[in-house]
């Protein structure tokens, strides 16, 4: 049997929750004050997920980078795969909020989308015309 200790994030109480596990089966959840705590703990020990936010390099834009996020939450253990894949991605301005930056990141089935806009840099736009 395995026990996991968590801190609930649903409210400032921050209950310390203990989950007892037998392999993948949850035996007990203790320490929570409300139902939300139990739900959180069950999800956290069986299928923890996070929305990942980071930046991606931009060429020809008014900023060097654009903020991006996974459109939905992805498994927690895929966070670093996601960020590493995005290290090799470079996008060209202009970029609008919601543009898909990378599809199916780290084989999660989730797309990474732009969370900010970057306009074309005036100088860069000029050089394209030339």
């Amino acid at each position: 049997m395995e026990t996991k200790n968590l801190t609930c994030i649903n409210c400032p109480m921050g209950c310390s929750i203990t989950v007892e596990l037998d392999k993948d089966k949850i035996i007990s959840v203790t320490g929570n004050t409300c139902k939300r705590g139990e739900d959180y703990a069950r999800k956290e020990v069986t299928d923890p997920t996070r929305i990942v936010t980071t930046t991606v390099r931009v060429t020809g834009g008014r900023s060097a980078v654009v903020p991006v996020k996974t459109r939905q939450d992805i498994p927690k253990e895929k966070i670093f795969d996601c960020v590493r894949e995005l290290k090799n991605v470079q996008v060209k301005a202009p970029i609008r909020i919601g543009d898909v930056i990378a599809a199916d990141i780290a084989q999660t089935g989730v797309d990474v989308v732009a969370a900010g806009s970057v306009e074309e840099c005036a100088a860069a736009a000029g050089s394209i015309e030339e």
């Binding site: 968590l6 801190t7 609930c8 400032p12 980078v65 903020p67 996020k69 670093f80 960020v83 909020i97």
Partner: protein
């Protein structure tokens, strides 16, 4: 001299929400003056998610939250000037500003809304001994370097202060390949949101060292390491508890201070507890027709609260311009709002019953972590409400709502007192 009905100083979340609200309340002539080269303020560099749960019932990143308001402002054709620094505001609401295209110019404003936000406490405010090597950044500066400029400030990092920006940067630097060795917090509790401690530190195995501080910074040219030590109840380092952390970077997340040079220059009465101007129920400062909202008034932890507060400032400034208010600034009966035992401050600090909207949200912070206590409200000697709070912390803003009916029902009322009490 150009004239506007309302001039808003700052185009961040507070300024934008105030502008949108003033326009929706019938004011045509509005100008936002913004120092940066874009609207949105600090939200542009807060690329993490978690914004807007209250306002939009969804979780947005900072730039997305800002974009919602920027689009509204543009749709409403609200005028704004970027790259524009306001130099001075006179009590008669003459605003002097400058930028590269207009040079120095002055504007006469029917009403002014202060929305300049806040800035970070710097190393100078901390008295940490040692040389002044490169590699010491405020957490917000590091955030700007990484998220906007695309530079990494360092590889081996120690963070002092567990405010939300420090916690967020611990995760951000880790994702960018840095090794964050520890977050040290002087107090026995964190100043950040629980959620950030779990998702920014615990998720990545970064230790949070409560009751610890930096007692030495090593290195002359570049930071080579820092020494952390445990502190006693009086925040004094305990000899023998020193631990060395080799690192090339020290981030400071040690508090935010409202940016009120303009307010002080104008002669607005300040509140030492918030470092912001004192305001009445209309969020109007001691200067007639000058309103304040957002982090320049008091530091918030959720932008959703800033937007709400700023919308109220916009409505009140609109009413002021339209002359629909019955009581002048400084005139009429004012009830004092006071922070009693356990409460650090209240915003606003006075209430004029005649000028109140149907209800008034009073925001405040407690001075310590309290478990199983109550928030009580006293009208003079009489307790009028008492609400049980399982836990309260200085890092989480509290609020109570007063109704106009309730206050008009007590014509002799002089002082409203908010306090933390035992059950």
């Amino acid at each position: 001299m150009r004239e506007y009905d309302i001039v808003i100083i700052g185009g961040g979340p507070a300024g934008l929400a105030a502008a949108v609200s003033a326009r929706e309340n019938g004011i045509e002539s509005i100008l936002i003056l913004e120092r940066d080269d874009r609207l949105g303020g600090i939200l542009n560099q807060c690329i993490h998610n978690g914004f807007g749960l209250h306002t939009f019932q969804e979780e947005l990143t900072g730039p997305e939250y800002a974009d919602r308001y920027i689009r509204q402002a543009k749709q409403l054709e609200i005028e704004y000037k970027l790259n524009t620094m306001v130099m001075d505001i006179r009590p008669d609401r003459t605003v002097t500003a400058m930028n590269k295209t207009d040079g120095v110019f002055t504007i006469r404003a029917g009403a002014v809304i202060l929305a300049m936000g806040c800035r970070e406490r710097a190393r100078g405010a901390l008295n940490i001994p040692g040389y002044r090597p490169a590699g010491i950044f405020s957490a917000g500066t590091a955030q700007r370097l990484v998220n906007i400029e695309g530079y990494m400030p360092g590889r081996e990092v120690v963070i002092l202060g567990s405010g939300d920006i420090g916690l967020i940067m611990a995760r951000r630097m880790t994702l960018e390949g840095a090794h964050v060795k520890a977050v040290a917090e002087l107090m026995p509790y964190s100043g950040g949101l629980k959620r950030n401690i779990v998702q920014c530190l615990d998720d990545y195995g970064i230790p949070l060292k409560l009751s610890h501080t930096v007692v030495d910074i090593k290195g002359r040219e570049r930071v080579e390491g820092v020494t952390l030590a445990e502190v006693d109840q009086n925040s004094k380092p305990i000899p023998g508890t020193e631990e060395d952390y080799p690192c090339d970077t020290l981030l400071l997340s040690v508090g935010l201070i409202p940016e009120n040079e303009l307010s002080r220059g104008m002669g607005a009465v300040m509140d030492p507890a918030t470092s912001g101007p004192k305001v009445n129920e209309s969020l109007e400062t001691s200067i007639d027709g000058v309103f304040a909202c957002g982090n320049v008034l008091h530091v918030h932890d959720l932008v959703d609260h800033v937007s709400k507060e700023a919308a109220a400032a916009g409505r009140n400034a609109a009413a002021y311009v339209k002359g629909s208010r019955t009581v002048k600034n400084g005139g009429g009966k004012a009830i004092l709002l006071t922070a009693a035992s356990g409460v650090r401050y209240t915003v606003p600090s006075t209430v004029r019953p005649e000028q109140m909207e149907d209800s008034l949200t009073v925001r405040f912070r407690v001075d310590n972590v309290y478990r199983g206590r109550c928030i009580s409200v006293y009208f003079d000697q009489e307790r009028v409400s008492r609400r049980k709070r399982p836990v309260m912390a200085p890092g989480e803003m509290e609020e109570i709502v007063l109704t106009k009916e309730q206050i008009l029902g007590c014509p002799e009322l002089e002082t409203i007192r908010i306090t933390v009490e035992d059950e």
